[in-house]
Every structure is written in C-alpha cells, then in structure tokens.
Symmetry: C2
Subunit: 146 residues, 2 copies
DNA sequence: CGATATGCAATAATGATAGACACATATTTT
DNA sequence: AAAATATGTGTCTATCATTATTGCATATCG
C-alpha cells in the first residue's frame, strides 16, 4: 500500500493553519478525518508525533480537539515531515547483500551515503518553507482555478 | 513490500561498470542475480528499461548477456534512476480527496507542485554524478574498510 | 452521571512489490 | 539439424508495509 502519511499530515496541518487564521479554536479528529477522507483513528495516529514534537496541542474530553501550538509562520514543512516520518528515510537500500565482490561488499554503504544526501537535500527544501507560506500558496492556487 | 528497484538497478549498473573496467565482455542475468541476491527474472525486468534507454546493450542466445553500451563516465545516476523508475514520482499524494474547503480543494495540486520540486532536486543531485565516479567511490569505501 | 472527545492496542483488510514458473525466441556449439 | 543456453515476457502467487476497523480506557464539559 502506498504511504500517504506525509501528504495527509500536511493536509491536516494546513487545515489547522486555516482554522488558526480564521480564529477557530479547535478541530476534532472527526472533522479533520472528514477533510482528508479518512478515519479519526488514522488522523489521531498522525497527530500523535506532531503533538510530541510540540507543533500541535490537543485538548482531551468533551468539546476537545486539536490546534496549532504556535503560529503557522513558525512551523516549517521540514518539521512536519520529520515528525511524521520519524527515522524512515526517503530511500532504503537492500540489506544483507552477500559479500562477493567489490560491488556487493560496498554498495550498501555507498547507497546509504547517497540516501543521506537525498534526505539532506529534501530536508533543506522543506525546511525553507513555512506552513503559513504554504497556506498562502493554497490561496493562490485557489484563485488561479478561476 | 519496500521498493528496491533503484538500489538494485544501481548495483547492477555498478557491476557492469566494474566488468567494463576489467574488460569483461558480458555478464549474464544469472551472474548479476547472484550478485544482487535475487532472481534472473527480476534482473532482466530491471534491465529492460535500461536497455530501452540505451544505457545497456544485450546479446541474446547462448553465451549472451549484457554490458554497458557506453563508457561508465558517460552515464549519470540520474539517467539510471529515470530509466528504472519511469514516471513514478518520489512522492505521490492522495487523489480523489473530496472538495469541501480551501484546503481540500487545493492540497492535491499544492502537493503535486511540492513533489515536482523534490523530484527536480533529487534529479539534479543524481544528474551530477556519473557511474564511473560512483565506482571510484566504491573503491574508496572499500579501502576505508581497512 | 451522561455525552463525547482523545489515546492507544489489537486485529483485519488492502495493495504494491518481488518471486516463481512457463514458454517463446535467439544464438552458439556440436 | 539438434542440443544447449541465453534473453524477453506473461501470469500467478507470496510477501509485507500501510491503512482501516474495532474496542476500550481516560479525560472533560454540562
């Protein structure tokens, strides 16, 4: 099954950013789930690491829900990515390749280095964008739809 | 199951580059499969688009096999990636999200744009490296293993 | 105390990827 | 010409990471 955690977490964060901009106090996981066309449980699972990372604040009990814990302009897409994907790398090579020649003995490390560079590259790209900018881009895209 | 096509194709290409450097004429899919610890069928399926892209030359029939069709210094890792992964993007968003608000109406396009930027970033990184340089790095790593 | 939210664990369903096998086709050797 | 052995490809099955579902404990408001 294809991994949709980051796109989904991003949409959730954008929804929370919109709520923040419109001074809506809290959104419930059920409301967010409706927006991302998924289940409240899945949404809460995605929220857990975002809360852990201090990007989102949750209120338990009746009338509870979640909201951004800081302003959207203080959150980068890189933080969202790192929180939701954890240690999982963008690329993972094969492991336990039998060591038989120059290539098979060293590709594993070579590929890991390459994957590191890719991760850093993507990290820089996402780290340079804030959630507030992303919401603004969303508005631009919306306007261009005519 | 995790997608190992690119790391595997890369290892295959590195093996072919090593063969080229050592003046070995051809490698069979069975020999390559042993090196990557996989099946000849899988290797041939990975080779197909590389042949299609003109990076690899194959000889059919008994004593057949494959070899690089040009020198390893004329092949970039970007070409290998593009050939083996085709149109598949590094990131794919959800599709068919119900359109209910500013966010749900436009995230799809927003995410596609972001994925495009990531692809370009990775493409630049891989496009700047040749297979010959990669083989050289493999030798460096091998030497550092002491 | 009832209603309703989050938090979390366990289990089932889904679906992309790799493996296995069959067989047509191409080429060399005998 | 036939045998041996390689590539090329289609189909079916197995694997397994991800997502969905369910159940229940916990927290908070009215």
């Amino acid at each position: 099954m294809i991994d949709v955690r980051f796109p989904t977490a991003l949409q959730i964060m954008l929804s929370l950013a919109l709520a923040q901009a419109e001074s809506v106090e809290l959104l419930s996981s059920a409301q967010l789930a409706e927006g991302v066309d998924s289940s409240p449980t899945f949404v809460r699972r995605l929220l857990a690491p975002l809360i852990q990372a201090g990007l989102v604040r949750s209120t338990m009990g009746r009338d509870g829900g979640v909201s951004l814990s800081v302003h959207a302009s203080a959150i980068t897409l890189g933080e969202i990515y790192k929180a939701t994907m954890g240690e999982k790398r963008l690329w993972t090579g094969r492991s336990d390749i039998p060591h038989r020649c120059l290539v098979s003995c060293n590709v594993e490390r070579f590929f890991a280095n390459l994957a590191d560079e890719v991760d850093e590259s993507v990290g820089r790209l996402l780290g340079a964008r804030t959630l507030a900018e992303a919401l603004s881009e969303l508005r631009t895209i919306d306007a261009e739809r005519i």
